[in-house]
Symmetry: C2
Subunit: 105 residues, 2 copies
DNA sequence: TTAATATGCAACCATTTGGTTGCATGTCAA
DNA sequence: TTGACATGCAACCAAATGGTTGCATATTAA
């Protein structure tokens, strides 16, 4: 569960897609997460194991099912590494502006 | 310069080390960045190319030298993807507390 | 002009990665 | 109890990754 694992876990688009799925609906089971994924269940299992190793996903066994939960803490720590607090507020303001402008199209 | 490139770039510890070096002192040249790196200059060049591709580093040619600058914008966008604004403030507060406690040791 | 310095390009190689298939185990429900 | 369902484990493979060496190019300074 080192920071190194977090970065490695986030490097793969499939794993980020899994995090997005959990962000949309937390506590999903393996089979649920496999839905609409263009690969085998075993491949998804491997990805989830890497996410769990990185502490980005927590699991809870419920009978024969396994629920998966997103843990946002490590992601926040990434931002803190290279962005000072005030600089971040500035960047957030910029980002907000950009989004507002995009909505006007 | 897609988000995919950003995550891939951050996945390698050597590249994160290069970002740390630039965070400590911006505008360093290739040779300067190679100092104390346990690999050949060519390897470092490749890493910097990947960081540049991801728009995490911007370069400026000065004669025969090439200066490298850190760009924090893409990193901020990572945090925004999975952390809501208010949740982030909560996480920041937690992180601050943790740091304060660590200082007391 | 010429030698030293700073960077660029390309071929090559070992290891890691992301995926597969095949089979095993554990749990629920009829 | 037995079949269906949810997940786990392991061997295998192609492609990507991170590193090397060797040589080329461009700029500065003596």
């Amino acid at each position: 569960m080192s920071m190194d694992d977090v970065f490695r876990a986030l490097a793969d688009p499939t794993r980020r897609q899994l995090l997005d799925k959990l962000h949309a609906k937390n506590g999903q089971t393996l089979n649920a997460l496999c839905a609409e994924m263009d690969m085998t269940r075993q491949a998804v299992t491997k990805h989830l194991a890497i996410l769990e190793e990185a502490n980005l996903v927590t699991t809870l066994r419920k009978g024969r099912e396994k629920q998966h939960y997103l843990n946002p803490v490590p992601i926040n720590e990434i931002a803190e590494r290279w962005i000072g607090k005030f600089e971040r507020h500035r960047l957030d303001a910029l980002s907000d502006l950009k989004k507002r402008l995009e909505r006007e199209d």
